[in-house]
């Protein structure tokens, strides 16, 4: 867990540098300060379970078996990336191998999709759980309600995490909802709602684990709100000047990695070992991504359908007479 927390942050920090070097294609959405939610929840899943991460949940996909190379190549939109450069950022997945579903930019849409995966698995006689995340912002969407309600009516093994980082872009949670705890929305579906400290990885793991197993054993969908704070802007371009500085100060003291280090009582030697390993993994990922070729431009025409013949595209002036 500690290693994955640190790996998530190390990759995030390195990506920030690559972004400033103009090497990242598309936006860059930081998980700084929120890593404990991705890591704690992902560790609560069993092999074969399904998970739909959001753009700040790179920690989740790392725990589920995607590599640092996957993360870096996708940021740099290289031919070796999981999406071969067709999508960017944290938008990748592999249902068969890691159980990860690639998110889209319309937030909340994962709720019904993950409910459907839970449904499909149940129809096949499998005891799988599907888990996904929404932010405080996406908990306002119709998809959030429709997906959870669908899952509730059918008693599907779905766990939805509200990652309340208090800002949706520049909009504070107070402008999303009048509720103090967003987990109270569980009442609307007749399902259990839980609230936890999102910066305490062990608490995140503990609450999620109980909910995952409850869902697996037929208890129906579970809603958990973890409180945290977004320590950077919405994306790199955003300086978050709308956030009162004292909030950053307050939440810096609650940094999930520093807190976990205290709980673990790591020796300097142990910490140095982890750091050496991290450096090697991150260096390798960055070097691999930078050395990878860009995708062939002609790939743009491929893969819309199973049959590539459908999308034939030759500009008129290049056609034979």
């Amino acid at each position: 867990m500690y290693y994955h927390l640190r790996l998530t942050r190390a990759l995030d920090e390195r990506a920030q540098i690559l972004y400033r070097q103009n090497k990242v294609v598309g936006g860059l959405f930081s998980s700084l300060g929120q890593e404990a939610i991705s890591i704690g929840t992902a560790f609560a899943l069993a092999k074969g379970d399904y998970v739909g991460p959001m753009i700040r949940n790179s920690g989740t996909v790392l725990v589920r078996g995607h590599t640092a190379r996957d993360v870096m190549t996708n940021y740099l939109a290289k031919a070796t990336a999981p999406t071969q450069g067709k999508d960017n950022s944290q938008h990748f997945g592999d249902v068969e191998r890691t159980g990860v579903v690639s998110c889209i930019s319309m937030l909340g849409t994962l709720d019904p999709v993950m409910a459907g995966m839970a449904l499909g698995a149940r129809m096949k006689g499998e005891k799988k759980v599907a888990m996904t995340y929404v932010g405080d912002g996406a908990s306002s969407t119709g998809d959030f309600y429709e997906g959870l309600n669908f899952a509730a009516v059918l008693k599907l093994p779905l766990v939805v995490i509200i990652e309340n980082n208090q800002y949706a872009y520049s909009t504070p949670t107070s402008k999303q909802s009048l509720l103090k705890d967003l987990a109270e929305k569980a009442k609307a579906f007749g399902i259990p709602g839980h609230v936890g400290d999102g910066n305490d990885v062990l608490q995140v793991y503990g609450i999620t684990k109980v909910c995952v197993e409850e869902a697996r054993s037929g208890g129906g969908p579970q809603l958990i709100e973890f409180k945290t704070f977004r320590m950077r802007g919405h994306a790199v371009h955003d300086d978050a000047s709308y956030v009162p500085p004292e909030l950053f100060e307050e939440w810096k003291k609650k940094d999930p990695i520093a807190r976990f280090e205290k709980q673990l009582e790591l020796t300097d030697r142990e910490k140095a070992d982890v750091e050496a390993k991290l450096k090697a993994v991150v260096d390798d990922a960055v070097e691999y991504a930078e050395k990878s070729p860009p995708p062939d431009g002609g790939l743009a025409y491929k893969g819309v359908f199973e049959d590539d013949e459908i999308v034939q595209f030759t500009p008129w002036w290049r056609r034979d007479a």
Partner: protein, 322 residues
Amino acid sequence: MPELTFLQAISRGLWEEMEADKSVFLMGEDIGKYGGAFRVTEGFLDKFGPERVLETPLAEEGFVGAAIGAAYVGMRPVVEFQFIDFIACAFDPIVNFACTSRYRWGQGVPVTFRGPWGGGLRAGPFHSRNIEMWFAHSPGIKVVAPSTPTDAKGLIKACIRDNDPCLFLEHKGLYRRIKEEVPDNSPPIPIGKAKVVRPGEQLTIVSYGMMVHRCLEAMAQMKDLSVELIDLRTIYPLDRAAIVESVKKTNKIMVVHEDTRTGGIAGEIAAVVNEEAFEHLDGPVIRLTAPDTPVPSAPAMEDVFLPSVADIVGAARKLAAY
């Protein structure tokens, strides 16, 4: 060989696919005991049970998203919209999730969306719409619109077996109006292939859905003209070759559809003909379509809204004389 209505042919196609493949299941509102708003799935609940005839809450965005998720894990959901107009509520998961999934990360989505579609039944602005071009213009989904029971049965099977998202449009004006003999366990009909309904020499008319039948009525009134009638059957992918081949023979073409004009498939067909058969044209490519308005309720207005037999005859004669 059983004689089936358009509706029965679709129903029979669904039934045979569900019998043949356990991963095929139905989702939608009121499709169980009630059998669906138009009774396409009547009797399915008793035969296949509530798990495979899954009644959903009234929430299109939710159950469409769920269908996509089920397809991700190897199921083949067939989603019924009570009226296809309501697909607007689920536009986001279809065009952003289902349509981009294979392209972005290689994950196919074998899902079929189907529902009653089209005008002429005095059903008003929200139960009559032609929504085909919203999706024909969203890369990643096939759009199918048959006009006969045989094609309906064959194409619904093809949609269900397809490994990509398909939208299957059922003209409700045809549901109980047309009948033909359709064999049991008939094979799927390939998506993306138009059909020459009647061969002809002087003029090509391209249409789909209920308008195919209106074109046939019009042709019966102008037997002196040799008209070639093409039923698109699939709107996306468009069978360009069939259209171009026909124009090269007849040198004149008009497109008839009940969809509204701007951005309708007729404009796309005109562009294809322009690019690929320009030298063969002896007249302008003519569009006979609905105007750019919502579908009005009152019969007097809907009759003006939809291309009529008289419109088709008038346009065909004018073009033939060009």
